[in-house]
Symmetry: C2
Subunit: 465 residues, 2 copies
Amino acid sequence: MVATIFLFGCEREYNADIIIKNAHIITMDGKMSQFENGSLVVKDGQIVVVGENADIEKKYKAPEIIDGAGKLVMPGLINTHTHAAMTMFRGYADDIHLHDWLYEYIFPIEREFVTAENVTLGTKLAVAEMLRSGTTTFNDMYYFVDEIAKVVDETGIRAVLSKGLLDFPVPDSPTPGEGMEKTRQLIEKWDSHPRINVSVAAHAIYSCSPDLIINAKKIADEYGVSFNMHVAETLVEFDNIKQEHGHSPVTFLNDIGVLDENMIAAHCVHLTPEDIQLIAEKGVGVAHNPQCNMKIASGVAPIPELMSAGAKVGIGTDGPASNNDLDMFDEMRTTAFIHKLTSNDPTFMDAQTVVKLATVDGARVLGMEDQIGSLETGKKADIIILDLEKPHAHPLYNIYSLIVYSLKSSDVETVIIDGEIVMKNRNLINIQEDVLYKKFDSLSVEIGNRIREIVMMLNMNRNIK
Amino acid sequence: MVATIFLFGCEREYNADIIIKNAHIITMDGKMSQFENGSLVVKDGQIVVVGENADIEKKYKAPEIIDGAGKLVMPGLINTHTHAAMTMFRGYADDIHLHDWLYEYIFPIEREFVTAENVTLGTKLAVAEMLRSGTTTFNDMYYFVDEIAKVVDETGIRAVLSKGLLDFPVPDSPTPGEGMEKTRQLIEKWDSHPRINVSVAAHAIYSCSPDLIINAKKIADEYGVSFNMHVAETLVEFDNIKQEHGHSPVTFLNDIGVLDENMIAAHCVHLTPEDIQLIAEKGVGVAHNPQCNMKIASGVAPIPELMSAGAKVGIGTDGPASNNDLDMFDEMRTTAFIHKLTSNDPTFMDAQTVVKLATVDGARVLGMEDQIGSLETGKKADIIILDLEKPHAHPLYNIYSLIVYSLKSSDVETVIIDGEIVMKNRNLINIQEDVLYKKFDSLSVEIGNRIREIVMMLNMNRNIK
């Protein structure tokens, strides 16, 4: 639809879908423009204009006018790495070692409970949580991706979706070959959806043969989509790969030819100086997951060094079974804190830099910087509105400081994605949460019973040893 | 008032003030008792009984019945170190070095703006924030403590209050001698208040002469109250004190005879193995402030080592100008994450341990373990009720994991302190927040203008250099 022009006296009135006015708007554009008394106009899923109230107010009309007085308007947050459906295992196995977590708890329970139905349920709960906490785009790697895509379609969120490929049988495909075939089908079915990009995912070097990684990357290149991997998450992984292949994980991936600007590497905790240069030179995007890395004691990714080298970096939560939430505000705060601490420099990782990581820089990691990540004319209307009438939001000296160090995900009041309001005054438009909670409670009783059996068996085995 | 006994048929009915029923209750008592379908009865400011619904329901009646279905009931959180009124400087100078922050930004602006009126305003905003985030007791060190005590009295929160003593003139007293006299007056005026304990505070070794510290401690001992200090917060402090006195900060404090079970030492980041032993042996309470220590890049306090040695440890936020919030849920999460990371052991600092630090252990640090910190018969009724009907609160496998890794301060719905409801369904009973925000906005414009002048002068001085 083209904007219709009316003439009233000397004034033009353009029809739009949504106008937000009287708000404090931060755009995250190249100039870091902000408007303390600003307006933003949305039409046909896109941002038409953003600027001072006075300039915009007289020119546009819309059926939906949002009064932004006392509110902050900013780009929706971009979660560059997660496994959303793992909400079903949130809090099921905490405070244990990564290897035990993965092999004794997660893999056995996934084999039983990761079904099409449960993935639908788990993803829907995750989307509710993400919308409520201001995330408008998430980059997901999991199983039963067709079901995940349907949830994304229904709920109104934006996502990059990939099916995890591994050497061994996974819940939705008995062989890697079948997995790859499914990946092709997903791309052909969903990649043209206005809010879905399909990506290809080889889980990790330790769970995929070199051939699987190379062939997966070929599919990504054939379709021109992004390629996701877990890279150098733990020291054990680094040491094992070095021993097996004679190289660091990153150098190994470079040798087999998969590092390029369409690759998204999650974690990147254990890197050599050469790895950092490689990542920057090849244009690989890094998804930084500080909370998960701390919780599992994997280490701290050298984000300062990556950024100095010119690498693309975004923030991710990782899955809710290892974080244990999908809260990007919390993850921003931790990103600032942990790098000030490890660099021994409180001036490092300042608040504005961190907000960039969670918005524009995240968009670059996903290769979507021309569409999302900032509030600019022509970009997709992915917008969050936060209520500043809260004690912790006063006083306001520096808006970026306020966002990173004081605001909470629960301050997000209204969420617009692709020009549609998906949460209004904290009411989700497309998700019936009470129904969801009931279903989740039943599922968690079943999973809980199995956990008790698993723990009993683990203890028996330990006693036998 | 003594509980009246009625006889209806064969059943007794005791009169109470508040009954919470049908709730998931965690008591944090010595056995870590919890009740999945529990009740709790409050009368005359105290907890009368806590246990299974069925056992309690028939015995008690009360004018206020709170249905706890779908909710979590737990002890209110205890913030063992803060400077609440510094809300007025929240976000005013972030991402800079501690020394610059203190000497170039905080001290100059404090001299101008720390007035009785502004401290009242700043503390009231802080109390609003603390109640909204589930803190029921805070240990505060600041100036104009008589005004702070009035705010505590009016708003219904519980506090330990101390006036910071320093060698140089401070906003509410031109000399340390006058400061000590004021401290005596405060103890005599307020220490018998049911929700206020007055403490004595020598700010730090680097800001107080040995004589000032010794004399301040004498006042604390004379009245039998606790004694607060900032101890070994930064490496610069550690090195300077070592150079000046030939000892570590903790050893120096031991030498001048102030370390005992009535002392509360904030930070304790830089400790020798001997310091750790001393703190444990002397029974000194440690207030751990992980977020502030990360944000200012001070380091990570050796909390694992202190706990192994048997030291008392609680959690604090530090002031909102250096954190920048008063959110104990956030601080719990960071406590778990940072010590897993630095100990390189994900099994360390498990969720239950962290909840203990923020409740019962915090009460021990403040010397109040016989009154607060757990939900047990005879203890003060300081209780928070959280709404679990949120996406991030599902599923529930382990309640402590849920609290530390997933729940948010904004899930706190109702707060009871000393048997009085001070927040109900997120409405504060004794604080008019909209009026407060308006006053705060005016104040922050004034402070903001002065900041711009200060920054201009700092830049001029730097250019001249």
